[in-house]
């Protein structure tokens, strides 16, 4: 953690809103990426970003500086995002029919245009992610979406590098099984 970031955090710990704004400017895209990566919905992801920065402002006093600030923040984002994902799973508007094939809830027939294909793919990705264990999902998002190293993921998740590798391996394997048709279709997108 550099000195500038240290100063920002100290100011924020004293309740300085301008410091929080600077932290927001530094991290909002990263926070949004992780949030969106987990919930795969714009509005939900934005709600998570808002909730995370409000939580951060309230709880930053508890940040002792023993770990990197971004891992502290990433952990907060991931926990908030997974909580949201659990809640919205129940109220999901997209549904699976009996054969497990994806259909938009409004009953519009599938057409081979790219917009609908993107929507279908996103729905599939979301459903597949929900089938992963939360730790596997978190490791996969940290690595594939945010591009964190094994070491950074281990710090954010409070586990060893070996555990991170194992979570990534099983998470990838399951996702590849669930999305095999779409990966071939969508992989070259």
């Amino acid at each position: 953690m550099n000195q500038e970031e240290n100063d920002l955090i100290s100011r924020c710990q004293q309740g300085d809103q301008d410091a929080l704004k600077e932290i927001f400017n530094l991290y909002h895209k990263k926070v949004y990426r992780i949030a969106y990566g987990v919930v795969r919905q714009r509005e939900e992801a934005l709600d998570i970003v808002q909730e995370v920065f409000l939580k951060l402002f309230r709880s930053i006093k508890n940040f002792t500086g023993k770990s990197h600030f971004y891992t502290y923040l990433y952990r907060m984002v991931m926990n908030t995002a997974i909580d949201h994902a659990r809640k919205i799973k129940k109220s999901r508007t997209l549904s699976l029919d009996e054969n497990g094939s994806f259909e938009p809830s409004d009953g519009v027939e599938k057409r081979p245009d790219s917009i609908l294909l993107d929507k279908e793919l996103e729905g599939r990705v979301k459903q597949a992610m929900e089938k992963l264990q939360p730790d596997q999902r978190a490791a996969l998002i940290f690595r594939e979406v945010e591009g964190l190293s094994y070491e950074e993921i281990a710090e954010a998740m409070g586990c060893s590098i070996g555990t991170v590798m194992s979570r990534l391996h099983y998470g990838r394997k399951k996702m590849q099984e669930l999305l095999k048709d779409y990966i071939r279709l969508g992989g070259g997108k």
Partner: protein
């Protein structure tokens, strides 16, 4: 999906994630050109990454983040603003006029005054009436008075305490 070869299977994911040493990287890169299974495994990993990452990047590009910050600022203000009953209580606490020692006896005094006034208020027998003339005689008594509200003059002729005659 085909599994990668046992010789590099443990390294392939690390290679894909750029977490290998130089020596490990050379080993994997020497193996890959002659192994379709490992190539396919790598392609699958790349495909999965694209599927997970591309929509997120597209969403980030479209987003209006200054608006998100405004919502956060509003959230902070709301969290800082005390509820209305707290505001009233704190105002009562700081206002010298309404400090508990002053306002309880003051309210009590006002209440007693109002109660006393209501209790001992003299109510007129004919509200709104003003007597113009009153005559007494051994046989008849006459009273003339105006009713201001109805703008009527009343002449009241009565014989005795028991028998009264009314005319207007």
């Amino acid at each position: 999906m085909k599994d990668p070869c046992p010789s590099v299977s443990k390294l392939l994911e690390k290679y894909f994630d750029r977490e290998v040493t130089e020596e490990e990287r050379s080993l994997v890169e020497a193996h890959l050109p002659g192994c379709p299974n490992c190539q396919e495994a790598l392609n699958m990993m790349t495909g999965l990454r694209d599927v997970l990452k591309n929509p997120v990047e597209e969403a980030v590009e479209k987003e209006d983040f200054p608006w998100v910050w405004q919502k956060i600022e509003r959230g902070i203000r709301l969290a800082e603003k005390p509820p209305w009953w707290e505001s009233i209580r704190s105002w009562l606490d700081i206002s010298p006029l309404f400090k508990r020692r002053v306002w309880i006896p003051a309210v009590a005094t006002v209440a007693i005054l109002i109660f006393t006034l209501v209790l001992f208020k003299k109510t007129p027998s004919h509200p709104g009436a003003s007597v113009v003339e009153y005559l007494e005689s051994p046989i008849y008594n006459v009273m003339v008075y105006d009713l201001e509200k109805a703008k009527v003059t009343v002449i009241w002729l009565f014989e005795g305490p028991e028998q009264e005659e009314f005319s207007s």
